[in-house]
Symmetry: C2
């Protein structure tokens, strides 16, 4: 398949949605962002971030867009468009698989009103997806940075944790699947393969006055440390309060792992971690479209994170698989 044919194929599948004045087909796309553009970019590389053996191209399309929308969600922003750069190994990806990849992306884009507004396609030594996403601040609400947290703020997470790490265990060790009912195993694997970005929750938390926020891509412990350092505070994370997704305890146990540590250090949940003033926590919980669970606090002290067990003793957490040597 030629690049030109492929670009036409992709252009024919990309639906233009409100906010995109000009999409695929010119030198650049034009996006209505209302003064400030919120922009982010992530790469997914075959053999580093995914394996073709355990990831369909449809799921890959979904996930590549999802991780970028998650970054916009963590700013409390409304996503508008994405640019999709694609390296394809010659002969390595069929036309049908490319269609599936874009179908996975378009299905997620449709749910969030996002337009695939441009990008690039080229040959390359492995399948690489480079996605840049552009959003705009939600009406009347400033973007929420990592650095706005203050001593005394409550740290809250959306949804539940550990599902992606448990799902990855199930994908890599199928013999563990007996630990949970089939539908639960399916949901855990789906959490890893097709994470749902918390776009609505991010906007709701921004409206509710969250002072700092980020998305949990590398585990709440590491991402919590990042938020704390950016805010010049010490984060205290109470492991016993971490909300575990259904089935995580059973899969962790079957794998000989500690469930709370798996939830704290396992990456790719793409939930949000927010620092919220104590008085704003209850209103934020009522306004959120998903569970919002207090898991710790910011306090004065050396910037970083301390994890406590149920007895209040400090716990060392192993680093997750988030950092690749390059």
């Amino acid at each position: 398949m030629s690049e030109l044919a492929l670009i036409e194929r992709i252009g024919a599948r990309a639906r233009r949605r409100p906010g995109t004045e000009l999409g695929i087909g010119d030198d650049a796309a034009l996006l209505s962002v209302g003064g400030t553009a919120v922009v982010t970019q992530d790469l997914l590389v075959e053999g580093v971030h995914f394996r073709r053996a355990t990831t369909s191209t449809r799921d890959l399309g979904h996930k590549a867009l999802a991780v970028n929308l998650s970054d916009l969600a963590a700013m409390g922003a409304e996503p508008v468009a994405a640019l999709v750069g694609l390296c394809l190994p010659p002969g390595g990806v069929s036309e049908a698989e490319v269609d599936e990849l874009y179908a996975g992306m378009e299905a997620l884009a449709e749910r969030h009103g996002v337009t695939v507004a441009g990008g690039d396609v080229t040959a390359g030594p492995a399948l690489v997806l480079a996605i840049a996403a552009v959003g705009r601040p939600s009406a009347g609400v400033a973007p929420v940075l990592r650095a706005g947290g203050r001593s005394g703020d409550v740290l809250c997470v959306t949804g539940a944790l550990g599902a992606s790490a448990a799902g990855l265990l199930l994908l890599e060790r199928p013999e563990l699947a007996g630990a949970v009912p089939g539908p639960v195993a399916d949901r855990l694997r789906a959490a890893h393969l097709r994470p749902e970005p918390r776009v609505e929750a991010g906007r709701a938390l921004a409206r509710a006055g969250a002072r700092a926020m980020l998305d949990i891509s590398d585990g709440v412990a590491l991402d919590g440390a990042r938020l704390a350092r950016a805010s010049g505070a010490r984060a205290v994370l109470e492991l016993a309060r971490l909300p575990l997704a259904e089935g995580v305890a059973e899969v962790a146990s079957a794998a000989g792992r500690d469930a709370l540590r798996l939830a704290a250090a396992g990456g790719e949940d793409y939930e949000l971690l927010a620092a919220i003033a104590p008085a704003a926590v209850e209103p934020a919980r009522r306004g959120a479209p998903c569970p919002l669970t207090p898991v710790g606090r910011l306090e004065q002290g050396p910037p970083g994170l301390v994890a406590l067990d149920a007895a209040g003793a400090a716990v060392e957490l192993e680093a997750g698989g988030w950092e690749h040597d390059v």
Copy 2:
């Protein structure tokens, strides 16, 4: 070198320039774009778009940003920021080379007021640069699309053509260098390795009322056909009027190639091709910061491009090296 160390290293080198409210270090960057964001993305892949043997990482950093700024130039837009995604083969690129890559990018960014505002770094099987650039429309001037050309418009190119193709010939066949004086050969090689995006010319042409515009990345013949098809017109390209860069004729002759065909079909000049109403051509030439040369016209007829030789006879042009099978 770890990803984290590398990201810190890169962050320390990226200077934040006006228009970027928030740069590297959060989930996303914040850019002042004034209502409409102009966004584009290009990938450069080792072994496909460049060879490490003939390209320094400093030049590569320059070129990867330059091709994106060229796309913004072709919209008549003012560049604001870039997101830089980088795949690094383990052990394949030293820290000093990464520094050089960003130094090349920053030097060009400085000249155009652009901030490297974010991005991603990861391991990967080859060196891949995925850059997304964001700009804003020049004050009071709507972005110039490919589709606005009309029958009767004059097709004009900025600068001179063929320099990049001749420079690539010199890089691949060093024995040809004797065809031109050393400084001329240096300029031709530089045109290939470090193309200068026509940002100011693009904005000047937009102000001068250019009706359609694109950047010449794949040769004026192919890009002219694209402009013509988008505008629903037939482009007539007069080969004898193509402005040849100094030394192109001599290098082409030494290589046994026809210079005008090389200039018409050779890619990567990153000059601009604009469709301009006849009455606006002279004012546009006076207002442009570089030579602006009429090379043909748009007329009614089947959308596409016809190239004519000096005698007015139609000429078949071979396709350039712009399309890679994937």
